[in-house]
Symmetry: C2
Subunit: 144 residues, 2 copies
DNA sequence: TTAATTGTGTCTATAGTAGTTACAGATAGA
DNA sequence: TCTATCTGTAACTACTATAGACACAATTAA
């Protein structure tokens, strides 16, 4: 499965913004840490902006900053901001004339839906602030 | 995200086999219900066979049958049989010289890992027998 | 011996992801 | 006012994963 990296990239950028809450950070600066190109990140930042998580200032000395405290940003909020899709494919185009084919889709939506809900409940309990704290703790432990 | 349909197809096929436990079912018959081609299904069936969930008989009047009772097959077992990957991309190639870039990967593995574990715990509680029962109940409700 | 079926290899079409370039619009600061 | 900088977005390309399609050797029942 070709999983998309936008969620991971979004968390990465938000962590950078949380660490530098006083200043604005440009997409070019973030691109050097995420190791990708600024235009790709600006697309993701656009989604985060529409979700009210960040705001931008165009022009010279512009950049991005958080609009909410890291404690108030859950990973689920980020996930939903950048990814509208489902974890699992439910729409496989079955033959409706078959006993199973006709009803398997709604059945799978029920079962997969429960599993996705459990996944999302976990993300809802995890905050950006926790991620940043864990990352900093790991960094200082590795430095020593 | 281009989610793969193999998990859904696998459940679909196993449900067909569970409904027809007395007889062997060919990949061509299953393909007409799943609405795809037999060769693709045989590849998925190969994975299910390696996981000990089904067995095949080649040759004329051959086909596939279950090797375990539907009550003893959890959706997690099926999921793990057909899909080795992760739900979320963790390996985005960050810049290790950056304060966040160097440690974000292991941090995300921790957080994403918890969410995936919750997802899998839910699948572990769901069985093929339940899926078949739900599908049949839906079918009879729609028929009335 | 024949017909049917698995198991697998190969090729192709399609689509999703991200890399790249470009550029209009906005803004700070000289 | 001018210039350098940065956003926001569009367009194009390259790459990769998925699955559809076809083929065929090996196997088996009748």
């Amino acid at each position: 499965m070709q999983t998309n990296t936008q969620f991971a990239s979004a968390i990465h950028m938000l962590a950078l913004l949380a660490l530098d809450e006083d200043e604005q950070v440009t997409s070019a600066e973030m691109a050097s840490s995420v190791n990708t190109n600024p235009a790709f990140l600006r697309r993701i930042l656009g989604a985060l902006s529409r979700a009210g998580l960040v705001e931008s200032q165009p022009g010279a000395r512009g950049g991005w900053r958080l609009r909410r405290a890291p404690e108030d940003i859950s990973l689920l909020t980020i996930y939903q901001a950048v990814d509208e899709g489902h974890l699992l494919a439910m729409r496989h185009h079955t033959n409706p004339n078959c006993k199973i084919g006709g009803v398997i889709q709604s059945t799978l939506e029920t079962y997969f839906g429960e599993a996705e809900a459990a996944f999302e409940r976990t993300l809802a309990r995890q905050t950006l602030a926790q991620v940043v704290a864990t990352a900093l703790a790991t960094a200082s432990r590795e430095a020593s």
